[in-house]
Amino acid sequence: MNLKQMISAQARRMAARSPWIYRINAGSCNGCDVECATTALIPRYDVERLGCQYCGSPRHADIVLVTGPLTARVKESVLRVYAEVPDPKVTVAVGVCPISGGIFRDGYAVLAPLSKYIPVDVNVPGCAPRPQAIIEGIAQAIEIWRGRL
């Protein structure tokens, strides 16, 4: 292994310790958002230990958490915001809704599954998932992200 490869490997290792998180609400009932925002990412569970930081702008993000069954109304906005996240990025679908539509699955305005429109890397099922499950999902996303750098 020459010097250049060693430096780039080291840089990848360091970069993987700084995943910034952005949330997209794709028509969620707000249950998963409450779990993400006020339970999983609060001081009690402290994802900042993993280097995670919540960011307000999709342009700063590395890991995208998507909640909700993707309603027809928000589809265009979700796709547009998702496209604004710079590569390399990883998507985590939080809750059962992005997987199958959950309790909304037969609704006329529901476009689930999300994976028809956006490449989903990690699924965190649950209605709503426990904070530990969300953190586990983020940890898996970090592993995937490390491979993409």
Binding site: A11, R12, M14, A15, A16, R17, S18, P19, P43, R44, D46, E48, R49, G51, Q53, Y54, C55, G56, S57, R59, H60, D62, E84, P86, D87, P88, L149
Partner: protein
């Protein structure tokens, strides 16, 4: 040969450039770590700001369609260069005295306004409505805190100048020499109003929580920085790390520059910066909520401005 190398070295490696960047990143890391501890959690590793920078360097920079590309990408460069110059102007008592060729206190004051101007330009060049809100808020904050800063610096300069039998002295080395001879301004009751005004100024200039209104994440989504990604955002992070070193270093030079020569002086300077950062920035940011722009504006025009005018008056009389 050595003489001609002194200034470039000062700019690139020792007090400026690499050393200041490392110091700034350590200050940021300590700030985040102590904030975590005060909230009873473990917090990120000390090197987290370095990890963030390495990460940002590997991401893609995206430029919005409606942005003015040369200005959008040029703004962070201007910001970093201005702060790299400013760091070389801040003396480290007993260790480093800036070359007068580079400039002195007044140049430093002008350079200190550049980051705010750069953020305004960046926000408006990005074409985002949040950037525009950030622009107007940044400008209001700047109008609010620059006045007190100039008056604080003027009263320190006047105190030094009058003490030496002249009128005013806008030379940082004279200000430091005067305090080393007559005692630090920190223990001089005449200077306490100016000190208080400075203590209110520097959190606002560093843009931390009670005064981070232009970049408020929860309302204007980081305002001017909203559209930045990848290396360009990293340059802004570097700018803010360097700015912490400049502003805190200026505070040390103006109010408490007593230090022995050599290595011990350098260590003491670093300890002073860390104490200023942790007491004036971290404690403030974990214990207060964000002000509204009108509240912050009124606060600055009421207390720090009044204190700095008062300090100028009593320095003139004393």
């Amino acid at each position: 040969m050595i003489e001609s190398l002194y200034t470039p070295l000062a700019l690139l490696i020792f007090p400026g450039g690499l050393f200041a960047l490392a110091l700034g990143l350590v200050l940021k890391g300590l700030d985040r770590r102590l904030a975590a501890r005060l909230q009873r959690r473990v917090g990120p590793p000390l090197a987290q700001p370095v990890y963030d920078l390495v990460k940002l360097a590997q991401k893609r920079t995206m430029v919005p369609d409606i942005a003015c590309q040369p200005v959008f990408l040029g703004a962070p460069l201007v910001g970093v260069v201005s702060m790299a110059l400013a760091v070389a102007l801040v003396p480290i008592p007993g260790v480093y005295t800036p070359d007068v060729v580079l400039g002195d206190l007044l140049v430093l004051l002008y350079l200190l306004t550049v980051p705010a101007v750069v953020l305004m330009i960046a926000g408006s060049a990005s074409g985002s409505p949040f950037g525009a809100i950030g622009f107007s808020r940044e400008m209001a904050m700047m109008l609010a805190y620059e006045g007190p800063l100039v008056l604080v610096v003027a009263s320190v300069a006047l105190r030094t100048g009058l003490g030496q039998g002249g009128l005013v002295s806008f030379s940082l080395s004279e200000i430091i020499a005067y305090q080393q001879a007559h005692g630090a301004f920190l223990f001089d009751p005449v200077m306490w109003p100016a000190l208080l005004a400075f203590l209110a100024f520097y959190p606002a200039n560093l843009g931390i929580i009670p005064f981070d209104i232009p970049e408020a994440e929860t309302e204007v989504l980081e305002g001017p920085l909203l559209e930045y990604s990848g290396p360009a955002l990293g340059l802004f992070k570097i700018m803010s790390a360097l700015k912490a070193v400049v502003v805190l270093g200026l505070g040390v030079a103006l109010f408490f520059p007593l230090a022995p020569d050599g290595m011990a002086g350098l260590l003491i300077q670093i300890v002073k910066l860390v104490v200023l950062m942790l007491l004036g920035v971290t404690l403030l940011r974990v214990s207060l909520g964000r002000m509204r722009i009108d509240q912050a504006f009124r606060f600055f025009l009421k207390w720090p401005l009044a204190l700095s005018v008062l300090s100028l008056a009593i320095v003139t009389i004393a």
